[in-house]
């Protein structure tokens, strides 16, 4: 594996791994992607991707545009065949099968509803030619319409529905044939923010109810964090990290993941005696990192992990992982304040920290105020530098 967690990287907390093992590990892999490559000429869109997805799991492929997530989904669907590697679904080798011989339902960002067919006929499209009696098809369509909460809309045309409703119809059409695998290609990207949040919840509910193995491609980290059982973070055609939303967020395996999901302050630092780093004029303890003394590293911390204290309320220094800073800018972002902090210990660097409204009120934070901030040792993330 080219993406092993480094020695010294925070291990997955025990309670998380216990839960993962209990809920997921027991089931066998339903979809097995092994050493998949995709080459477009000299460009490699996927590089040696291996991944197991268990039955009933909701997995998100997350990454910036061009990272290969859609390419991987289309390989799974048989729409763009991988150049090398194999894909097994339900124990069957589907690597070279055309889409029609695979077992999945798919929902695209554009919904791809047939504009000249009514909603009911759209949903029934995949049920026809299956030797099902007409009455059975009709009752299945009614059931599906009810399932997606559009029971009385069957006779309308797609253009007469809102974007969110169209999305639900596309979903109903995809699950009508009870596929073993549900593929969602950026299904919510074309919707406005409110509808999107609402549908997120609905899709997740539906997926849980049906127990269908689902892969969703998205570039929206919030969507991935809130919906997925596991997230596959991709960049430049490789998998950066696979993990539960909390693992990914709390323990990003790479600097890219730390940066892409949530935000992170990054400081050029030097490793010191196994569990400490120094940057600016200060030194901080952190969890075991395994770097040699003096090795160049990046120390990162999320803005919301910075804890504010009143100035001089704590003993300063490496023991408490605190530094004194001055607020040079404050920006009100609704549910919290975003501050830009400068201090002697930081040198020329800026530390961005998010403080709750309460904390800001309690400590009377305004621009120019001095305070002490704590960078908790277990929240400091250490990554190698200069790679």
């Amino acid at each position: 594996m080219r993406h092993e967690t480094l020695a010294g990287q925070p291990r997955i907390p025990t309670e998380v791994s216990a839960m993962t093992a209990a809920s997921l590990n027991v089931k066998p892999a339903y979809l097995k992607i092994a050493n998949v490559w995709k080459a477009f000429g000299d460009f490699h869109a996927l590089k040696d991707i291996s991944l197991d997805i268990r039955e009933g799991e909701f997995v998100c492929f997350l990454g910036p545009s061009g990272c290969g997530k859609t390419t991987l989904l289309r390989a799974v669907a048989g729409l763009d065949l991988q150049t090398r590697g194999s894909i097994h679904q339900g124990g069957k080798d589907v690597s070279a099968l055309p889409p029609s011989q695979r077992d999945y339902g798919i929902v695209f960002q554009s919904y791809a509803l047939f504009p000249n067919l009514t909603i009911a006929k759209n949903i029934a499209f995949g049920l026809e030619n299956t030797k099902r009696p007409r009455a059975e098809i009709d009752s299945r369509v009614t059931e599906l319409l009810k399932l997606v909460g559009l029971a009385d809309q069957g006779n309308k045309y797609p253009a007469q529905l809102s974007g969110g409703q169209q999305q639900r119809i596309a979903l109903a059409r995809a699950i009508a044939i009870s596929p073993g695998l549900l593929l969602l290609d950026e299904p919510l990207s074309a919707l406005d923010a409110k509808v999107r949040t609402h549908l997120r919840h609905e899709i997740k509910e539906l997926q849980r109810k049906l127990g269908v193995t689902t892969i969703m491609v998205t570039h929206d980290q919030e969507e991935a964090l809130s919906m997925a059982d596991r997230i596959v973070v991709m960049n430049h055609g490789v998998i950066e990290q696979i993990g539960t939303p909390t693992e990914i967020y709390r323990h990003p395996a790479t600097l890219f993941v730390a940066d892409f999901i949530g935000e992170a302050n990054k400081f050029e630092a030097k490793a010191a005696n196994g569990a400490a780093v120094g940057f600016g004029a200060a030194s901080f303890s952190c969890t075991q990192h395994g770097f040699d003394d003096g090795a160049p590293v990046i120390a990162a911390i999320r803005p919301e992990d910075v804890i504010p204290h009143a100035i001089n309320s704590l003993a300063n220094g490496a023991a408490t992982n605190t530094i004194d800073v001055t607020i040079s800018e404050m920006e009100f972002l609704g549910s919290f304040w975003r501050t830009r902090l400068h201090g002697h210990a930081l040198g020329n660097e800026t530390l961005i920290a998010d403080f709750s409204i309460n904390a800001a009120r309690r400590l009377s934070l305004t621009e120019g105020v001095q305070l002490t901030v704590e960078l908790p040792a277990e929240r400091l993330l250490i990554y190698p530098r200069g790679a």
Binding site: R2, H3, L6, N35, W37, A39, H44, K47, D48, A77, G78, L79, L81, Q82, T83, R84, G85, S95, A96, L97, P98, P99, S100, Q101, R102, Y104, G105, I106, F108, S110, A112, F114, P115, N116, L117, F125, G126, E128, N129, T130, Y157, P158, A159, Q160, R173, A174, A176, I177, P179, L183, H236, V238, E240, Q241, A253, T254, F256, Y383, P384, A387
Partner: protein, 670 residues
Amino acid sequence: MAMTIDTALPVGRALRLRLDRDELIKRGLMVVIALYLVVALAAPLAIMLSKSFSTYSFDLARFEFQVSDKDGNWSKPTTAEALNKALNAVPPAKLGTNSDGRLQATSFFPDFSFRSPVKYKIRGTTTDAAYLVGLKLQSGTKWQELTSNDFRRVMLRPSRALGLENYVAYFSTPTLFRSIENSVFIAFISTIVTVGLAFGFAYALNRSCMRFKDAFKLVAMVPILVPSLLPGIALIYLFGNQGLLKDLLMGVPIYGPLGIVVGSVFFAFPHAMLIISTALAISDQRHYEAAASLRASSWRTFWTVTIPGARYGLISAAFVVFTLVITDFGLPKVIGGQYNVLAVDIYKQVIGQQNFEMGAVVSVILLVPAIAAFIVDRMVTKKQVALLSARSVPYQPNPNRGFDTLCFAWCSLVAIFILGIMVTSQFAALVKLWPYDLSLSLKHFAFDRMDGGGWGSYYNSIRLAALTAVIGTVIIFVGAYMVEKTDGFRSGRTAFQFLAMLPMAVPGMVLGLAYIFFFNDPANPLHAIYGTMTILVVCTITHFYTVGHLTALTALKQIDQEFEPVAASLKQPFYKLFARVTVPVCLPAILDISIYMFVNAMTTVSAVVFLYSKDTTLASVAVLNMDDAGDVAPAAAMAMMIFYTNAAARLIHMFLSKALIKRTQAWRMR
């Protein structure tokens, strides 16, 4: 740390998709339609090109003779070359010939008498030396003994060589190559006049608040419905030797460049107007508001906003008109007089002089400007599409009395010109004997009494148009679907797309001549369709393939690319999707293609003029032939019949579209 150690792609072969039944059917269909285009377009053109480089001459060194005396003693074998040297029976200049050339073997035996008991022997010195004995083609190096009576009927056949001689001959014949200059001159002048008129017309339609816009639009489209011969006939009636308005020209004859230019402006006008109108319609209101807020004068706004915005439309219109005019055959044939142009030269070489090789040379020369114009037009059209996709606010004209009046006057002038030609033609068809007896009668519609095929040719034309519309639309739409909606097989699709675009660059005369070369070859298994309605349908579909193809592509591109994957994931065959979704959604475009094919099949002359037989005479060709025979009034009457038919077809198409759209396109209403 996720070091991206870039391991290389493992060696091995790329995975290939296992083909399912759908994919096999699709590829099968694409191969069928591609084959159609190869047989109906690429192969004939290739043969024509090779013909233009083929020269034929009698190679006398290839034949050897022996003569016996009365007692049966044979002379020494002598080549025809040696005999000719001694006798100078056939001067070297006469040795060049065409593919049909024959040289009598007895020319080399001055004392030949078919009654003499002398016997002759002939053989080729090479295996491919060919000669006829009577009607039987012989070849080979075996001696053949013939009585003098049989030897009388021995004809040497020429041998074919590849070379530029035909082109050399063309360019050393001033009467021939002057046509290039004439054609380019005519096309150039017609282009300037047409684009100028059309721009003013389109500008008035889009940018003024004048009245009767719909009526003007209707009138502007009329020339599309008639053959290009019609303005020629009408102009002769107006300004010809016995023309009513002849004096207006003050001695300048209408026969020649003047007539061709005026007639060309008539039939090219709607094409230019449509293109420019589209370009003007997409301009952005916000640009004008910006110009107004910067206090630019309207003159300045015109030159800095309007013209640049419409420039691709103008360029495209110019090239389309240029191509239409330079490749048109009917009009210069009718009104050109002694003024030779390329398209008519092809006709004269082939039909008049039976010189097919020279016809091929002129065809190749005519292909050059047509292909050049085509390439420029394609480049420009691509840019225009990019312009279209921008989100813009459509321009809303404001009333302006002086300007609106000016626009109205301009459009009225153009409308009078178009209607004038139509009315003249109608009048000519109905008047008893122009200009002496102006009373009306229907006697000119009694086509059966004239040359040209009579009413039969009219019914043939309707059959041709209907067949072309139905079969052509199916082939074109299915072909476009295969190009647009299949993935994989990329090189095949690119080649197909190229073939589909090619007909636009091929003038009708060239296509027709290429068909003669290809289909009239007895060795061709498709020879059987030569002289039938089938070849006319094939030729007409191919001739007008590109515009239909582009229309279909545009409609298909507007359909979601994900329909096919969705249908496949739902385990539904592609033809179900095609029948239930693709065709219904594209129905308006499909109807447009069919009416386009119908109207053009009715009016076209150029390609089919080489291909009709006495059983398949066509109305448009009848117009040409009756005019040629001096029956100008019946020619005008037949041209008007074509107009009535096309107008009726258009009306039916309109009602049919409306009814169908109302029934099947309910989903378009919100």
